[in-house]
Symmetry: C2
Subunit: 320 residues, 2 copies
């Protein structure tokens, strides 16, 4: 009997679920708003209902399912099968996610940090294929990292490894959501770009960004679009973004000496603009011996990396 797996990518904004075959192909998937304020019970029921729906759609039943992998944006107490805390998802502290899922399904349930899941997906079936030591970085609202060491996902001691968004790169920098100051995330995320623009415009700077955003909240996309139209402020912010990304990636090259680093998340859609600028910083800043053997590429699996990686986690006999 052919084996199938389910991958759940639970995000603060979007909930993605897919049925994945043993070769990492998504057979069928759904994507919908998470509605995080409705809390764990509501979200869990929707996850269960959606899995049943997807199985039906693909003419499978639970017996065909060899495991369900759930990627979550936060910290997991693996021993007790509990959520410690999730980013942008309130009321999840202490929720025994594994146990609650097992009430609906008899197939093995695995829980994994979302960036680690995406890293594992990219490593097995995307841009990381063929490497041994591989880092996945997601740059969007926040910054997260997933680590593959010698072909295996590295979870850390309590599923907290890869928090590269909370690596201080500016000791005098601004306060981050995590309580620290000058974190990579507070300087180089999409949110940071939007904030830089917002501040400058509030201070009276004239910029196409304002016209593009119109009555909406300024987003990183507006900044990239305005930069393409030649807007001075937007171009400066894009250059600053590339600079900060270059510094953060150089740190990761120096610390991990990986064969490849893949960038994912919303910011990676601006690859052609950012990549040459980032490489200039890395070639100047990172250790030469490590840079020479490290490729910086963009995600291949894009939005599907988390689903595929979470499902693929069930291929591994135990969570190690």
């Amino acid at each position: 009997m052919k084996k199938f797996f389910c991958g759940v990518d639970l995000g603060g904004t979007t909930l993605k679920i897919g049925i994945v075959d043993g070769n990492g192909n998504i057979m069928v998937k759904i994507k919908e708003g998470t509605l995080p304020h409705k809390g764990p019970d509501y979200i869990l029921n929707r996850i269960k209902d959606n899995i049943s729906l997807l199985l039906k759609k693909s003419s499978l039943n639970e017996k065909n399912l060899s495991g369900i992998g759930i990627a979550v944006p936060g910290f997991i107490d693996e021993k007790r099968g509990r959520i410690l805390s999730l980013t942008n998802l309130p009321y999840w502290e202490g929720v025994p996610l594994g146990k609650l899922m097992r009430e609906g399904f008899s197939t093995p349930i695995k829980i994994i940090n979302d960036a680690t899941a995406a890293a594992y997906g990219e490593y097995l079936y995307g841009s990381g294929r063929g490497t041994n030591n591989f880092i996945y970085m997601t740059i969007s609202t926040g910054i997260g990292g997933g680590i593959i060491i010698e072909g295996k996902p590295y979870f850390g001691t309590s599923h907290g490894a890869g928090e590269i968004g909370h690596m201080v790169i500016d000791i005098n920098g601004e306060r981050c959501n995590c309580g620290n100051y000058g974190c990579f995330e507070v300087m180089a995320s999409g949110t940071a770009m939007a904030k830089f623009a917002q501040k400058a415009i509030e201070a009276g700077e004239n910029s196409t960004i304002k016209i593009l955003a119109a009555a909406n909240i300024i987003k990183a996309e507006h900044v990239f679009s305005a930069a393409k139209l030649g807007d001075k402020l937007a171009k400066d912010i894009v250059d600053k973004e590339a600079f900060y990304l270059g510094i953060g990636i150089s740190n990761i090259i120096n610390i991990f000496n990986p064969e490849k680093i893949t960038l994912g998340g919303g910011i990676s859609n601006q690859w052609n603009t950012l990549h040459p600028k980032i490489m200039k910083i890395i070639n100047k800043r990172a250790i030469k011996e490590n840079t020479q053997i490290c490729e910086i590429v963009k995600t291949e699996l894009k939005d599907d990396a988390g689903i595929i990686g979470a499902a693929a986690l069930c291929f591994i006999p135990n969570n190690k």
Copy 2:
């Protein structure tokens, strides 16, 4: 027949060699100045002569030796068995260290980065015993790091992993020897402490540091001694050192989620002064979930960590 191993710790200042048994005990060792300016041939001959001498001293011969591990402060091209570059040891670029050692000995030769060797030594026989994910940081003239992941030393793709000294923590910081700016090393090494003192004194500040150093170059030790005598400048520099160390260690906690971090190197001799100050920063700055399960301790093996770790590398069937 009982097995013995040889560990060589080749440093820019000191050359340490020991004969180690299968339980990580050093039977006999030597420690002498490296004399780096004399170049690879001279140093290699001394290493070989010293190994022969140590074998004789311990009534062993080469047949008793199951391997020689050599820890070097730099980058290794493992495939070609060549040195890429060493810190503070000129003329070593491209030297086929493995091949040259094999000309003197028929036992297997392994080459390893020095901080990784020290990490492995501490992990097997020192402060890291019983952990799975363990980081060793050496804080002295420079700052280096060694990484143990799931019980195995992590070398990186080209033996360049663990260069945590060259993780930028101050994006606006001073230039580092590596060419980058604001590296952890340029701010928190012993050399950095001495430089801060030197600068302040040159700028006219009155300080006991100057009296303690007398006609000699100011060193980190002078700063710690002056701080103990209540000197204001020295106390400020010690506080700054603890602050920078706290930031750098917090980054490592966030990135690796390790069970334990061991500090070694000269600065770790000031443990009682630094440890409480460092912990205050970490408790404020690092991610709570990761900090809770991570102990920060000082080296147990001290100066011997490199010898023991390099020798222990020969216990592993291949370099992985």
